[in-house]
């Protein structure tokens, strides 16, 4: 068995093991209802951390608008589930909801990627932030209702929909979508996480994945070697957006009222995911999953820590970046620890 294959199996193993442990705890009644409520969010944060790590670590472009794709996945799938709640049975409805959420997130990832990926570095980061905010704002101004005549749209307010008396508002602007069926559960969340891990890990170890990393390391050299830079950038970005969309589907089918609020979909939320990725190790997919789970659960469990949570995260973020990336610190580490730390330095590059 090759080393990468073994590594990948360990990653899947950790996820499955965590699933079994939580299931056993839950079955034996050792899990409080508060804790049970945290399990599904934990999985979708792990999923979106994997998605963002594909973009930041493997593609090497910082996106601070990934929650926008999550938002698209959440709203399109919740809209579908809400409309077809009485028509379709749960299982096929949820599967189609996933397909719709992922497809729309991928579509928007592709469309947004066309302009965004022509930029680099800081500009790219700020434009992804801009798109994330645009998505959030536009969804907040959207009104969709359904009555016997079909669908009605408006960008102004619910009155503008001009519906018949039997009409039902589905997307109510800033109030969002209320009453999406609660289809998400921990097992489905874990399944989605495993599938996204499978997709990303296989992508990384494929020919395409190596091309993407070559673009990241030196795009001029990659281009000179005959790699189609735009194509591979688009590929990684679209897949990343699609996985973020899947996280959105899990999200929207786990809460009663889905609103495009800053708390969940603003750039601060995206930065939160970035914290998971950085602390887990940029480019280290397994690390992202572990960091997302631990960092999500820890402050929720230790309530006293919650006040200082973000403060601690921000300090750790700064210290991590300086320790791992500062040329002087890297030199100092090499001098002090010699060959001991060579491996960890390689991982970051």
């Amino acid at each position: 068995m090759s080393k990468t294959k073994r590594d990948n199996l360990i990653t899947y193993g950790i996820v499955i093991l965590a699933f079994i442990i939580f299931q056993v705890l839950s079955a034996t009644g050792n899990l409080s209802s508060h804790m049970k409520g945290l399990l599904v969010p934990m999985t979708y944060y792990a999923v979106i951390a994997v998605a963002l790590n594909l973009c930041v670590g493997i593609l090497g472009e910082l996106s601070i608008g990934h929650c926008g794709f999550m938002c698209i996945g959440a709203f399109t799938s919740a809209f579908f589930s809400k409309v077809t709640e009485e028509v379709l049975p749960t299982a096929p409805r949820f599967i189609i909801a996933f397909i719709i959420g992922i497809a729309f997130a991928a579509l928007f990832g592709f469309l947004i990627g066309i302009p965004v990926l022509r930029l680099k570095g800081d500009y790219l980061a700020i434009v992804t932030l801009a798109f994330g905010e645009i998505i959030k704002n536009v969804i907040n101004a959207f009104y969709i209702g359904v009555d016997s005549h079909g669908l009605h749209f408006s960008m102004k307010n619910a009155m503008e929909l001009n519906m018949e008396a039997d009409g039902q508002i589905i997307v109510n602007g800033a109030m969002g979508i209320t009453g999406t069926p609660h289809d998400s559960n921990f097992a489905i969340g874990i399944a989605v996480l495993l599938i996204s891990l499978f997709v990303v890990l296989n992508l990384i170890n494929s020919r395409d994945g190596r091309a993407i990393m070559a673009v990241r390391d030196n795009y001029i050299a990659a281009e000179a070697s005959g790699i189609n830079v735009t194509r591979y950038k688009m590929m990684a970005f679209t897949i990343s957006a699609a996985i973020a969309g899947a996280a959105g589907v899990l999200f929207s089918h786990n809460i009663t009222t889905l609103t495009a609020s800053s708390q969940y979909f603003g750039y601060n939320a995206s930065i939160m995911i970035l914290v998971y990725v950085v602390l887990g190790g940029i480019g280290n997919i397994r690390g992202s999953v572990i960091a997302a789970c631990i960092l999500y659960l820890l402050p929720e469990l230790l309530r006293g820590l919650n006040t200082y949570r973000m403060l601690i995260y921000s300090i750790v973020l700064i210290v991590m970046m300086i320790v791992n990336w500062s040329p002087k610190v890297i030199e100092w580490r090499k001098r002090t620890f010699g060959n001991l730390l060579k491996k960890s330095g390689k991982e970051m590059a």
């Binding site: 090497g60 800081d122 645009i134 704002n137 500062s326």
Partner: protein, 294 residues
Amino acid sequence: MSFLTYLINGLSLGSIYAIIALGYTMVYGIAKMLNFAHGDFIMVGCYIIFSVSAALSGNPIIGILIAIVLCTLLGITTEFVAYRPLRGAASPLAVLITAIGVSYLLENVALLIFGADIKSFTSVVKWEGITLFDGQLKIQGVTIVTIVVSIVILIVLQLFINKTKQGQAMLAASEDKGAAALMGINVNRTIMLTFAIGSALAAIAGALLCSAYPSLSPYTGAMPGIKAFVAAVLGGIGSIPGAMIGGLVLGIVEILSKTYISSQLSDAIVFGILVIVLLVKPTGILGKKYLEKV
């Protein structure tokens, strides 16, 4: 007449964006980094003015002066502790993520000290303003002060950059750090000076912003900061008159779209401008074009 009122409001908001954008554009021009925390320096400045005026309950000028000094120190410290070690790092993402970390840190420190509730900020401008056309057009004092202050800052900065030795050193360092160092310019000190000026401007922008929109929370600075970056990009990053033009255009667009299109969508429109500018003319209105060499 109401259109004129909105236009003047837009100019006022635009002037605030312009002052913030000046800080962004100078730092970006020299250090080649997006100081994500710049917007939060504004918030820090506002809280300092707020606390000082609460403690002294007197002239706001003292508060503004203290805010300028402390923000300058904060800017220098941030540069020294967080950004300087990462200069020359293998990946440009490193310093950007660190800047995001600093932004987060400042917001959360403010959250711990002052709490999440919105404080109402007393305007530093006591002047009522003027009334024109038999009371049909009212211009608030703070609006006039904002516009005048931004013009003064623009002129002073232009003179500083073009006429003084330090300003010339900044220009040289922004063109080529290596060559500038060979000519005897202390690049590190020049970058530090840039951060100091940018942060002092942020404190002034904070005083004006919170006087015009008197609600103060730990997140006050974040959105204006990002919009000011949009303004800097729109005007051409690295260009001081560009930042001014970009800021004014953005302020006017924001106020007019809020009034005539939709208050929900005004942010989306502002960010839409950023996307369009970067696609059509990535160097902005007054920016210079750089060719990438292998």
